[in-house]
C-alpha cells in the first residue's frame, strides 16, 4: 500500500467522523452558534442529472436541429386572471430580495429578463423602482414579513406570488444580517439600521388553507381580478400542499425543491429539511393530475435548475416553466475569481481570502462582503457589478439554456418544448426512477409502482 510522503502512516479517516464533521464539532464547541450561510444544499442528492432523454429513432421522428421551429412561448395564470403572463421562454428568474442583492443586481436581472421576454420576481424587502423600471414582466412577492409590501406596488405588478415557503428552508423565515441593513434597506423594511433581521415564517393575516382561499380572493379583489396569483411552496409534503394551494384558488403554483438557494439560512436547515426537486416535481404534477387541474393551474418548478437539460427534464416531467435563482447569480459572476469594473478585469481573490473562502466554494452571501459585488449593500463592493455588463451575461445564460432546451426538444421530435413528456425520460438510478416516476433505463421498472 502506497502512502504519500507527508501522509501519516496510521491515517484512516472515519466515515462517521470525517474531517468535515470534526470541523463542525470544533466550530460548534468554539462558538456555541450554528452556522448561517447562503446558496443551497451542497450534499449530493438525486437530481435531474440522474435522468436521460430517449430521443427520436425509428419509433419517433426528430426535427432538424437548427432550423425547424420549436415553440418556447409560455403562458402562466390562465385560470382566473384577466391578464395572464405571456413569456417568450419557459425560464423565469426567481424571487431574490433587494437587501440580499444590491439594487444594481435587481436592475440587471430585470433588464436581462426583459430582453429575452421572461419575468423576474421581487423578494423579501419589497419592489425597487430600478427593478420595476427595468422589468417588463415583474412578479411581486407577498411574503410573511410583508416588508415593503404596499398596494401601490401591488397595482404596478404583473402578477402576485404568495410565498408560503422556500426550498432551502421550508418552514423557516428569512434572515438578513445587520451588515446588509443599510439605510435604504432599513427604510424599505421599516427596521432599525444594522439590526440582524429575522423574517416571519408565518403569514400575519392567515394561517391555513381555508384562510388562503380568502387571502387569494382579497388580492384578486384589490387587483380587480386582472393579475395572476401564484402560490410558492417549499418542497416537503408536496402532493398535499399543491392540492391545497390549487383548491385555494391559485392560478400558478411554484414548487421550490431543497436544492433551492437562500441569501442566509442555518446550514442545518439547508442540508436537512425538505425534499429534492426531482421528488417534489413528480408529487406536484400528480397532485394536479389528481385534481384534473393539470394545464388549468400552471406549475413552475425551481431548486437547482442549472442547465438547458435540467429545464428540458423539468418540462418533460410536467412543469410548465422553471424558475432560477442561484444560476442567475453565477451568470452574474458569483464565485468567479474576477470582476469587471470600468471596463477592466480585476482579481477578487484577496477578497475571497478575507472571507475565508475561495472562488468555487464561496457561500458567504450572508456576510454582505460579496467579492464580486452581487450579494452586498456595500457602496464600494456593489460598484463591482455593472448592470449593463451583468444584464448581458444573464441574457447570454438564458439564451444558452433556451438553445439547449430546444435542441433536446427537437431531438425528441417536439415542435413545442411543452410537448416534452415523461415518456421521453428514463432514470439512471433506482432512487431517481422512484422519485421522478420514470422507468430505470433499459427496463420498464418504476420502483414503487405496479407494473
Amino acid at each position: 500500500m502506497g502512502y504519500a510522503e507527508d501522509e501519516p502512516r496510521s491515517a484512516q479517516e472515519s466515515w462517521g467522523y470525517d474531517r468535515a464533521i470534526i470541523d463542525y464539532i470544533h466550530r460548534a464547541a468554539a462558538h456555541g452558534l450554528y452556522e448561517i450561510r447562503g446558496l443551497g444544499a451542497k450534499r449530493k442528492l438525486p437530481h435531474f442529472d440522474d435522468l436521460l432523454f430517449l430521443a427520436a429513432s425509428l419509433s419517433r421522428y426528430p426535427l432538424e436541429g437548427y432550423r425547424e421551429r420549436c415553440e418556447t412561448k409560455t403562458v402562466l395564470g390562465t385560470r382566473h386572471a384577466k391578464k395572464p403572463i405571456e413569456l417568450a421562454i419557459p425560464i423565469t428568474i426567481a424571487g431574490m430580495s433587494f437587501g440580499s442583492l444590491s439594487a444594481r443586481v435587481k436592475e440587471a436581472l430585470g433588464r436581462a429578463a426583459t430582453e429575452v421576454g421572461t419575468s423576474t420576481t421581487t423578494g423579501d424587502g419589497g419592489m425597487t423602482a430600478e427593478e420595476r423600471r427595468s422589468s417588463k414582466t415583474l412578479v411581486y412577492q407577498c411574503l410573511p414579513s410583508r416588508y415593503g409590501f404596499n398596494p401601490d406596488d401591488v397595482r404596478k405588478a404583473d402578477a402576485i406570488e404568495i410565498v408560503i415557503g422556500q426550498g432551502a428552508k421550508p418552514g423557516g423565515g428569512g434572515m438578513l444580517l445587520g451588515q446588509k441593513i443599510n439605510p435604504r434597506v432599513a427604510r424599505m423594511r421599516i427596521l432599525p439600521e444594522g439590526v440582524d433581521q429575522r423574517s416571519a415564517c408565518r403569514h400575519p393575516d392567515w394561517t391555513g388553507p381555508d384562510d388562503l382561499v380568502m387571502k387569494i380572493q382579497e388580492l384578486r379583489e384589490i387587483t380587480d381580478w386582472e393579475k395572476p396569483i401564484y402560490v410558492k411552496i417549499g418542497a416537503t409534503r408536496t402532493f398535499n400542499d399543491v392540492k391545497l394551494a390549487a383548491i385555494a384558488g391559485a392560478d400558478v403554483i411554484v414548487v421550490d425543491g431543497m436544492q433551492g438557494g437562500t441569501a442566509a439560512t442555518q446550514t442545518v436547515f439547508i442540508e436537512h429539511v425538505g425534499v429534492p426537486t426531482l421528488a417534489a416535481l413528480r408529487g406536484a404534477v400528480e397532485a394536479l393530475e389528481d385534481l384534473k387541474l393539470r394545464g388549468t393551474v400552471q406549475l413552475v418548478v425551481s431548486g437547482g435548475i442549472r442547465t438547458g437539460a435540467d429545464v428540458a427534464k423539468a418540462l418533460a416531467m410536467g412543469a410548465d416553466a422553471v424558475s432560477i435563482g442561484q444560476g442567475m447569480l453565477m451568470a452574474l459572476g458569483c464565485n468567479s475569481d474576477t470582476y469587471m469594473q470600468n471596463g477592466e478585469l480585476h482579481s477578487a481573490l484577496s477578497d475571497y481570502g478575507k472571507l475565508g473562502t475561495a472562488p468555487g466554494y464561496c457561500h458567504h452571501c450572508h456576510t454582505g462582503g460579496c467579492p464580486v459585488g452581487i450579494t452586498t449593500q456595500d457602496e464600494v463592493l456593489e460598484q463591482r457589478l455593472d448592470p449593463a455588463v451583468a444584464a448581458r451575461r444573464v441574457k447570454n445564460y438564458l439564451k444558452t439554456l433556451t438553445m439547449e432546451l430546444t435542441t433536446i426538444a427537437r431531438a425528441c421530435g417536439k415542435q413545442n418544448v411543452h410537448h416534452l413528456e415523461r415518456e421521453d425520460l428514463v432514470a439512471l438510478t433506482v432512487e431517481s426512477a422512484a422519485m421522478a416516476g420514470v422507468p430505470l433505463a433499459g427496463t420498464d421498472w418504476i420502483p414503487g409502482r405496479e407494473r
Binding site: 452558534l33 401591488v154 421599516i190 440582524d196 400575519p204 393575516d205 392567515w206 380568502m214 382579497e218
Partner: protein, 228 residues
C-alpha cells in the same frame, strides 16, 4: 357630499369594489354598504379619502390595504381587518377577529370591543386603539406604530417586538420574548392621550403601562439559547 348605496344582498361584492377602485383619489363621497352579512374583502384596496359605512358584520380583510378612506364597520369584523392599511381610518364598532391591523403601515384602526389573537402582528407604523382586550400574541414582531389596549392583554404580548410601542391599561397575562415594561414618560402620556382622543375613548392615560422592546434580540448572540 354625494352618497351612493350598495346592497350586497342584491349586488355582487365585485361591483362594489370595482366602483370604489374606479374612484381612486376622489373626495366628498359617502358610500354605504348594506347587508354585508360577513362578506370578505369589503372595500379592500380603496385609494380615496371617502367615507364608507359598512352597515353590519364584515368578513375577512375588510378595508384591506386601505389608503386614505375613512371606514366604519357597524358590527363585528372578521380576520385581518385593515390588514396592511397604509393611511386613513378604520373604526370597528363591535369586536374584531384575529390579526386586526396586521402589518399595517399607517392610519388609525379603532376597535370598540375586544380583538382576538395577533392584533397588530407585524405592524409597521399603523396606530391601533382597542377599547377592550386583546388575545394572545398581540403585536408579534411589531416593527413600528402604537398599540393601545384599554382592557387586558393575553399571552406573549409583544413577542419579538422591534420599535413599536404598546400601552396597556389592564392586566398582561405574559410578555413575549424581548418585550418588557418601561416607565411612562411625558412623551408617552402625550402620544397616548392624543390617540385616545382620536379614537373617542375616555380612558385616563395615567392608568396605562408601556411595553416595548428590550432590544436584546437585535443581534445574534450565543447566550440567547432557544431565542434563535
Amino acid at each position: 357630499m354625494a352618497q351612493v348605496t350598495f346592497d350586497l344582498a342584491r349586488q355582487p361584492l365585485r361591483e362594489l369594489n370595482q366602483y370604489l377602485h374606479q374612484r381612486a383619489g376622489e373626495r366628498d363621497l359617502h358610500v354605504r354598504v348594506l347587508n354585508p352579512d360577513g362578506a370578505h374583502s369589503i372595500a379592500a384596496g380603496v385609494d380615496a379619502a371617502m367615507d364608507i359605512d359598512i352597515e353590519g358584520h364584515a368578513g375577512y380583510y375588510a378595508g384591506g390595504m386601505n389608503q386614505h378612506a375613512r371606514l366604519t364597520v357597524h358590527g363585528n369584523a372578521g380576520p385581518g381587518v385593515a390588514e396592511n392599511m397604509m393611511s386613513g381610518r378604520m373604526h370597528v364598532k363591535g369586536f374584531a377577529s384575529v390579526a386586526a391591523g396586521a402589518s399595517g403601515n399607517g392610519g388609525l384602526l379603532v376597535i370598540d370591543g375586544d380583538a382576538s389573537l395577533r392584533c397588530g402582528i407585524s405592524m409597521k407604523g399603523i396606530d391601533i386603539v382597542v377599547a377592550g382586550s386583546v388575545g394572545d400574541f398581540a403585536a408579534f414582531m411589531a416593527q413600528a406604530g402604537v398599540l393601545v389596549v384599554g382592557g387586558d392583554a393575553g399571552d406573549a404580548l409583544g413577542d419579538s417586538i422591534y420599535e413599536a410601542v404598546i400601552y396597556v391599561r389592564g392586566r398582561i397575562k405574559s410578555l413575549g420574548a424581548d418585550a418588557h415594561e418601561e416607565d411612562m414618560t411625558p412623551r408617552d402620556y402625550e402620544v397616548l392621550g392624543a390617540l385616545l382622543d382620536s379614537a373617542g375613548h375616555r380612558y385616563d392615560p395615567r392608568h396605562f403601562r408601556r411595553v416595548a422592546s428590550m432590544r436584546t434580540l437585535y443581534h445574534w448572540n450565543a447566550d440567547a439559547n432557544q431565542e434563535y
